[in-house]
Symmetry: C2
Subunit: 327 residues, 2 copies
């Protein structure tokens, strides 16, 4: 791993290591699914690549974030756990933290944008969470959350800029490597960068020749802007159908992105919807718009992936079935 040069606000001692990933995998195994890899001749013919879809939409609570959330929750001492956990989340991290906390039987509070799908809020409450609504901007979210934590004293499990969460997400690419062997590249969507950081952490240690690509909506391209300019750029209120990808990079995820990502590729809203529809239609899986961003970028950058073995992370399946984007 590179030195965190030009990352003056990052304490190098908090950067998770591959030993943390191995410990995380042992810790969370009883609480997560070892999700299947699906392949599709149709998708291979369409793209000219050999695609391996890691189906985290079939994960517990419907998203890869069950990995990081479980690692944080089950790594707490009994004393810390008794005070509960809290987070802010555009949806899946809040849901998955609720799942993990419910499984351990400890309190959990989640600050959620009022515009997030009602189904996600209901599901959080179903796991026993206290849901607190905020405005759909990063600024409002952080203000409301500070109040919640001040009152509860709960352990803050950040949706992505937390070494425990990154080590947990890193178990996804560890499993992929065990399931399909060497890959030429792995591509995953990027929002705050938790999944991408975990992928960088794992692959730089066990398969350093595997390239890491991040895929982002054109209309929420803050990670792309950061990557190209060499410093974190945040957009307070991006608008995209891929509602899990609206949050900005933070210092820990920026560390992994700047040091290990080969490139960040962009897709338009219509390209994302088309790729989502195509995946539902041909692969028969329910997945969120965010998950379709990688396929959309592969389809429009075929020359980059042709003839290669590519891992594609299907990050979650918690979509409102009554509000599908092609309706």
């Amino acid at each position: 791993m590179n030195e965190p040069a030009n990352e003056p606000d990052l304490d190098p001692s908090i950067i998770p290591t591959y030993e943390d990933v191995e410990a995380a995998h042992k810790r969370i195994e009883p609480h997560i699914h070892r999700t299947p890899i699906l392949t599709s001749e149709f998708m291979n013919e369409l793209t000219g690549a050999e695609l391996f879809f890691k189906c985290e939409n079939l994960q517990k609570a419907g998203a890869f974030k069950a990995r990081g959330a479980s690692n944080a929750v089950f790594g707490l001492s009994d004393e810390a756990a008794a005070k509960g956990v809290a987070t802010h989340s555009s949806g899946n991290h809040g849901l998955c933290l609720s799942y993990a906390a419910g499984r351990r039987g400890i309190p959990v509070s989640v600050v959620v944008p009022r515009t997030a799908p009602e189904a996600k809020k209901e599901a959080m409450r179903g796991y026993g969470a206290t849901v607190v609504e905020c405005e759909p901007s990063t600024t409002s979210r952080e203000q409301v959350f500070a109040d919640v934590v001040a009152k509860s004293g709960a352990d803050f499990v950040h949706p992505y800029n937390d070494p425990r969460v990154i080590a947990g997400q890193a178990t996804c690419s560890k499993e992929m490597h065990e399931q399909v062997g060497e890959l030429d590249a792995i591509i995953a969507p990027i929002g705050g960068g938790g999944m991408i950081s975990g992928t960088c952490l794992t692959m730089s240690n066990i398969a350093p020749n595997t390239k890491i690509f991040a895929a982002e909506p054109e209309t929420a391209d803050d990670a792309y802007q950061s990557f190209k300019s060499g410093q974190i750029i945040a957009d307070d209120t991006p608008v995209t159908i891929a509602d899990g990808l609206k949050v900005p990079l933070k210092n820990l995820t920026w560390h992994f992105v700047r040091n290990h990502v080969s490139d960040i590729l962009l897709a338009s809203e219509q390209e994302i919807i088309d790729a989502m529809y195509l995946t539902w239609q041909r692969m028969k899986i329910v997945m969120e718009p965010s998950c379709a961003v990688p396929l959309a970028t592969i389809i429009k950058n075929k020359e980059l992936f042709a003839g290669q073995r590519i891992g594609v992370v299907i990050t979650g399946g918690n979509v409102d079935l009554k509000k599908l984007p092609w309706m």
Copy 2:
């Protein structure tokens, strides 16, 4: 297997045997997926049973019927194959026969009700089929089809009342048994009875203690009426959202149903839609209304399945994503 008493119109020599199933499995293995089994804690808690979902929605061409169609197509002599194959089908058998014929590179004609989903007709043409439309009744379908066969001389591969097709569908429960071991019961939807007959054929040979249940829409309950009255009853124009289940039993499938099925359970249209929505929402899989009939009947007959290991066949995933029943 019982003697075909009271089945005067059935020639016992055409009844497929378990040796036919084993031969079919070898023949079709290069052309089909060994589909995964999914489980769901949510569904187990909901029903009180331990459910194993065999995901034939992830099968080639999106339905279990790829098994029977491939067995028929790849079992033909080169001479017979050169003349092509033909069938009538409310959708999936036509699609799957088109897939298998396309894979072997032989001509295929399919007679399809004009009311069948446009997506299915397009997909058949995509595999190279000639699609001929008929009225949405069994009578019209059989008349139009007779013309097609008379003109082409193609080999008629019936959607279900064909020993090659039944032996092919029987490989599905053979795989289930290999994947999850002994089951207390298997439940599958029933239309013409091809999947149920194949399930009876396999389980009566390799696991005779496993009960076979068939699930049928209340508004297309001709198999239920046949089962209760002891003779085939056909309804020419049933109306149900489960459009794969509108066809009647025929002599060969009736043989298996009357001799090996424990019971036929019914579900209303709303119960089918609710079970379909619940499966999409919680299991993140795209499946047809027909596939939801078994789960709907398990939910309303919990006492029958409580505490037992139950195999549930998810028969196909070829649904029109722009016309979902909860929209």
